[in-house]
Amino acid sequence: MWPSTRTSSSRTRTSGSLSLKGVPRVARVLAREVAVTALLLLGVSVVVFAILYLAPGDPFSLLLEGQMSAGVPGQGVHEAMGAPKEWHARYLSWLAGMLRGNFGASIRTGLPVLEEISRVGLNTLLLTLGSMAVTLLVAVPIALYAAVRGVNRVSFPLTMAAYVMSALPVFWFGYVVIYLFLHTFGLFPLALGSPGTGQGPNRLYLLLPIVVLGLGNGTLGEVIRHLREEMGRVLSEDYVRTARAKGASVWKHAFKEGFLIPVTEIVASKIPFLLGGAVIVEQVFNWPGMGRMVWQAALDRDFPVIMGIAVLAAVFVRTGSLLQRFVYIAVNPGASRETAERRAA
């Protein structure tokens, strides 16, 4: 991601020296990031489209698949549905639609992609953000305790347990949890989401997949290690020692550099992994999210849906890293000047 940032930033700088003078630095940084994001999304859509186009199979043939027929894929269907035959025309028409905010309609269900994705995207957002919160709730106390007290009888087993937990494959962990809830606790509705009366999902049910993904997504161990090391490093810095010597709050002094920055860093960098884990957890727990939708769409080669989700996932990831960057700059205002100077050099 960095090389692309650099090339585009140099472009903004050349034009920026003229027109952006007087514009606050934050706005300039923001403009640059938005431009980078746009380029990134364009790149993602091209790559995803190319992969889909080169993959065997035709989404349109699926609509004619009945019994006893292989059938020429998409014979007459392309024309009937008004889909261009050439790949570039198909891509360009998709792109033109997207720029106008129209992501097209799913080939399989005929539903507008944007509407469908925003419906299930919310569920996935809930799942990923919730699981991130769970990860932090578990990891942060362990890491901080270990950073302050070092390796001892309490922190060592806790840390080890967290490492083992992150090493478990999430689909397996999901099944184990479901079985526990079913057979040991007999709490079926909790594991299935509905008491069988045709009512909507049980609210409590939502907790289970969130906790499973939060514990099992593999980031738990990493968050602990990263945070413990950073916090440990900051705690041995001179300014913290000074603070301690004069009786000021160590926590207050160490908070920004030893806690906020490492946590946002790791959260941002783990978003792609969380999205990947969500695909599996959604499948296991029957969770109506983006992961399940993209899985079905991939099997069907339903390209408008896949493209829409790819773009949205890229937006998620990019937003995460942007947020991290802004937190970093907010905590350490020198940082933006520093990087700008480094780039100018």
Partner: protein, 533 residues
């Protein structure tokens, strides 16, 4: 299935009258009320009978719509929306007299609309419109035209008389005022998600996570169905689906995965009910490969497989070993042809006869060419049992000195390799039939080519002429004789190693009574199901 055809011949060319049912509650003394929640593996894309092509959708359309004629539990053609029909002497004209007491499901803010001949003409026109994408089109190309004679009479003219034409008029009728587009139906039309029909159940709601609620149609022309509500719940996992039944979160599973049969069987609360499937699995050979072009080699492979053992251990024995190209539930199946027994010695002898001898590594070879082949298998949703079958295949053939390399491929990639590139030696697959038992597309020489069904390149003039003859004849007995002969020839020629037809099982809670099931459409008789209070 034999009875079907007899019944059809009987009605052919004559008029049938029906006793009229009255709308309103049924007077059969069975209680009304209750809800049945059934679990489905996967969720439907569309719910109308024209654009949908998945079994999950087909089952729901069976509850919401009616055809001109239906098929009863004894597999006989019975009147539905048409109360009687006349067939001309030459078998080319079918005139249907429609019921006058049928109304469409009422959408909020709409007056009740009667069902008329216009709806029938509309349905046919929509189905055949070039912009409507439906797998049904090819099935109804035999119809030349449809006209409305008056509000309650329609006349179908056929291009040529065909056998069992009446059974084809089971297609579901959709209302003229239903779709928003008056000429054709696409998946973007709201009607495909909120359809209305004439059937025993009316679509009430579809929840965000795909739960479909159907409510009893009080004005159903055969009388109000007994169950108040039927709810379809989608599941993404077979295991969880089974657990949902065990924990009473659902009352019924349409198709139980064979793996979970023992678990349900041991539970007194549930009924496991078998129903026949018109499908079979097979290993298909690519006859373009010179090694497989020799009939003796293909037959040797069949001898080398212990099919009964595979069926017993991978599918709990729930199925029938077959010997030929028809499903055993079909009238076309020839019971006189017995499946080849498991006989590795016979296999080795045949391979020896074909000129193969063991090489230094134990693999058979002929003129320096090893008998090594690639088996391509599609990865489907539930591939566990399939995996075991193909690995067993490899081991059995290893036993007689054949080297099989198994390659698993994603569904679309597999289809392209098999049907388009013809880049395979052996495949494992399943054919699913509709009610017609027409296998001509599988073995006709004319069907060899890209995206045609004769993927193995099988060509035999005798089979060709039998298939064509069977297609053209209007005499049911003659067609049966032809199919029996075809069965015998193809069993001997072994273009496939025919494996088995699996028995489908539905599982449901004992409280649901009078459950009769259509082998293919499932819910055809659900209006008579009831719950014992």
């Amino acid at each position: 299935m034999k009875r079907v055809s007899v019944a059809m011949l009987f009605v052919f060319g004559m008029t049938v009258a029906v006793s009229a049912w009255a709308a309103g509650p049924r007077k059969d003394g069975r209680p009304d009320g209750g809800t049945v929640n059934y679990g489905e593996y996967g969720r439907p894309a569309t719910l109308d009978p024209v654009t949908s092509n998945e079994m999950v959708s087909l089952r729901i359309t069976e509850l919401v719509f009616n055809g001109l004629v239906g098929i009863n539990e004894k597999q006989e053609i019975v009147p539905e929306l048409a109360e009687r029909w006349d067939v001309s002497k030459d078998g080319r004209t079918y005139v249907f007299s429609l019921r006058k007491d049928v109304t469409w499901h009422v959408r909020p803010g709409e007056a009740p609309m009667p069902f008329t001949a216009d709806d029938v003409v509309f349905t046919y026109n929509v189905m055949m419109h070039p912009k409507t994408i439906t797998p049904l089109k090819v099935r109804y190309e035999f119809i030349e035209s449809v006209e409305k004679s008056d509000d309650h009479t329609v006349r179908f003219t056929l291009k040529r008389p065909i056998l069992n034409a009446l059974a084809k008029f089971t297609f579901k009728i959709i209302p003229k005022h239903g779709p928003s587009n008056p000429a054709y139906l696409t998946r973007e039309d709201p009607f495909v998600r909120r359809p209305i029909g004439t059937g025993p159940y009316q679509l009430k709601s579809v929840s965000g996570d795909g739960e479909i609620t159907l409510a009893a149609n009080n004005a159903y022309f055969k009388g109000r169905p007994h169950l108040d509500t039927i709810v379809a719940k989608p599941f993404a996992d077979q295991n969880i689906l089974t657990q949902a039944l065990m924990f009473n979160a659902i009352d019924m599973i349409v198709l139980v995965n064979p793996r979970y049969l023992p678990e349900i069987q041991g539970d007194k609360r549930f009924v496991l009910q078998p129903y026949n499937a018109l499908s079979y699995s097979f290993f298909g050979y690519n006859l373009r490969n010179p090694l497989l072009a020799d009939r003796r080699v293909r037959k040797a492979f069949t001898y080398a497989l212990n099919r009964q053992e595979m069926l017993d251990s991978f599918f709990n024995g729930q199925g029938t070993i077959i010997s030929g190209p028809f499903a055993p539930g079909s009238w076309a199946y020839n019971l006189d042809v017995a499946p080849l027994p498991y006989d590795p010695q016979a296999a080795s002898a045949l391979l020896k006869e074909a000129g193969f001898s063991p090489g230094p590594d134990g693999i058979l070879q002929k003129a320096g060419k090893k008998l090594a082949l690639t088996l391509k298998v599609p990865i489907e949703k539930e591939s566990e049992a399939v995996k075991r079958v193909v690995l067993a295949f490899r081991n059995y053939l290893k036993g007689v000195g054949v080297d099989i390399k198994v390659e698993f491929e994603e569904w679309q990639a597999w289809k392209e390799d098999v049907f388009f590139e013809h880049d395979f030696d052996i495949i494992f697959a399943t054919w699913v039939f509709d009610d017609s038992a027409d296998i001509s597309s599988l073995f006709l020489t004319a069907e060899i080519g890209p995206w045609r069904n004769n993927f193995g390149g099988y060509s035999n003039p005798e089979v060709d002429s039998l298939l064509m003859e069977g297609k053209l004849t209007l005499d049911h007995e003659k067609r049966r004789t032809i199919n029996r002969k075809l069965h015998a020839v193809l069993a001997e020629e072994t273009p496939y190693t025919f494996l088995w037809t699996l028995t489908n099982y539905t599982a449901y809670h004992r409280k649901i009574r009078h459950v009769a099931i259509h082998p293919y459409k499932f819910f055809s008789y659900a209006d008579e199901w009831f719950i014992e209070p």
